[in-house]
């Protein structure tokens, strides 16, 4: 909020141009960011109160206050153990994980779309998520002894390299080729994953792995929050700080080089950052599709393509989006839960079709 006040107070001394409507009214940026931050906080707080057991806002606050050590000073009674567990052990980690994963996927999608100048780029469509899933399943099912996030990251990087190499070997890297190459890599990784599960998984692990493959935050713990939240805070912030660099790619690689950008080095650094972040996210939530596709497009319609606003705003709105998608996923058929990936795909596939249709001359 403080930055918002600063922005508005300096605005009059800035440009005196008439405020005509155009993509990316630059004064609107800080307002959107402030609004989206507020929306994310409210989404988290409200979503925690929604569910089969009735919890009030007051209950949620009492539980959180107790756990962060404010209960005593504020003179709050701790919640009964069962309700407290529901807030602190189940819903809050789940909602926060959804927020972090949504934010991270939105940043990944926006960065990939800008770097490849491909409106269809997204970690899910280019096979990164499938590669990460394969890496993770190797650990979960076969007990390969590396850390889950590391395996997921390795899978994501291999998938990314394979998809871009395949697209590049066909000639100029066009959006169509990139998506088709990603599809091939994605299908291969999915087949390998299915084979491993079919061959090795038994009993309960089936259901768990299946919901994970479809993308779900149902099993989120505080460890998940730490992995996804930490990755978003560190890598997401780093990626989001490269706004001007990504802006330089607006008119393509040659234009970026002409603006003094080291095109190849920058592209690889950022793509490795995206693969790292995707790996961390997939290791906690599985492969949740289309968040990285939808959010950046929606935000560009709101504020234009300038990345210094686009990246943080896509992240904040992506967080809210996945919080609500997951809330819907766990309540719509209550007491049965859907993996949230089914819902995001149900929303995202039509949006994908719309983008295809709008960009039909470019394909």
């Amino acid at each position: 909020m403080r930055s918002l006040v600063a922005e508005t107070s300096t605005a009059p001394s800035g440009e005196r141009a008439p405020a005509r409507r155009s993509p990316g009214n630059r004064r609107a940026g800080p307002w959107w960011l402030a609004g989206a931050s507020l929306a994310l906080v409210l989404s988290v707080v409200v979503a925690v109160t929604i569910g089969p057991a009735d919890l009030t806002w007051g209950d949620v606050w009492r539980s959180i206050a107790t756990h962060v050590g404010l209960g005593g000073p504020l003179g709050l009674e701790p919640l009964p153990l069962l309700q407290d567990g529901m807030v602190w052990q189940l819903r809050l980690p789940r909602v926060l994980t959804a927020a972090a994963v949504g934010a991270g996927l939105a940043i990944c999608g926006a960065v990939m779309q800008s770097l490849t100048r491909n409106p269809l780029a997204d970690p899910y469509l280019l096979g990164l998520s499938s590669g990460a899933s394969l890496g993770a399943v190797l650990v979960l099912v076969l007990g390969v002894s590396v850390l889950l996030p590391v395996a997921a990251f390795g899978g994501a990087v291999l998938a990314l390299v394979a998809a871009l190499a395949l697209a590049g070997s066909l000639g100029a890297v066009t959006p169509t080729r990139t998506v088709l190459a990603g599809l091939a890599v994605s299908q291969l990784a999915a087949a390998a994953t299915s084979f491993i599960i079919f061959w090795s998984a038994t009993g309960d692990s089936y259901r768990e792995i299946l919901s994970w493959l479809m993308g779900s935050v149902a099993g989120a713990t505080w460890t998940s929050v730490a992995i996804a939240g930490g990755a978003v805070l560190v890598l997401g912030t780093l990626l989001a700080s490269t706004g001007s660099v990504l802006d330089a790619f607006t008119f393509g690689d040659t234009a970026a080089a002409g603006l003094g950008i080291a095109v190849n080095r920058t592209r690889w650094l950022l793509l490795v950052g995206v693969a790292l972040l995707t790996g961390a996210l997939v290791s906690v939530s599985g492969a949740i599709g289309f968040v990285g596709l939808i959010l950046p497009h929606a935000v560009r319609l709101l504020t234009g393509a300038r990345h210094r606003v686009l990246l943080p705003l896509a992240a904040l709105l992506g967080g809210s989006f996945l919080v609500w998608a997951d809330t819907l996923a766990r309540t719509i058929f209550a007491p049965r839960e859907l993996p949230v990936g089914i819902l995001t795909a149900a929303i995202g596939a039509p949006v994908f079709a719309l983008i295809l249709w709008r960009g039909r001359r470019a394909l």
Partner: protein, 270 residues
Amino acid sequence: MSGESAVVPGAEGGRGLDASRVSWSAGTRLVLDGVDATAPPGAVSGLLGPNGSGKSTLLRAIAATQVPDAGEVRFDGEDLLGMPRRRRARRVALVEQDASTDLPISVLDAVLLGRIPHRPLLAGDTDADRAVAREALGRAGVEELAGRSLATLSGGERQRVHMARALAQDPALLLLDEPTNHLDIAAQLAAMTVLRKLAADGVTVLAALHDLNLAAASCDHVVVLAEGRVVAAGPVREVLVPAVIEPVYGVRCDVLTHPRTGRPVLVFGD
């Protein structure tokens, strides 16, 4: 290879653009074969030649957006290829052919991209950047477009916005790849007028052009490329003559004199 390239008055003392023995190959195909090309300071130079003669490649090589395999590019005595890339981006700007984007972007934001080499890499644009961007739009003659969306502009307007984006880089050397392509005749002349004014302000301008008559009417100096080699270079009057044009383009050509401007006019065919 190009023994005929003429000495350019005004390029003494290392001023202006001086590219020598520039070579670049795509796979096994030699696209630029030891090109020597100059552009005098404060003048409009035209880079001519048939399709595939290497015009675009030479411009990219000079801007070092596609680093040549061999050769040297000097501008005002400085080695452009060896210069740090951000510093080079403050000296040289390249307006590409058909630069486009599918992303929604306003004209002012597009022009502001030209300020990127002038500020710290991760910083945002400042009021000063916006002032320079508006001035660049003014120099390109399209200040009134600042608030529009790039996607809604006509081809001629868009081309001038791209020129403004290059001017926002505040370059001393401006390279343009067929800046009049797909423009109607009024927009072509307007674009060339902008280039003439820039040259008068001291900018060294080198533009690849298809239309020989446009070059004859607007350029001070021309360089003719064929199959990756310079076949002629020098003042318009000396280079745009049947002996040069006929073998390069494979057409009959007569050169007349414009009754009003006194500039050469080329007429083609038997």
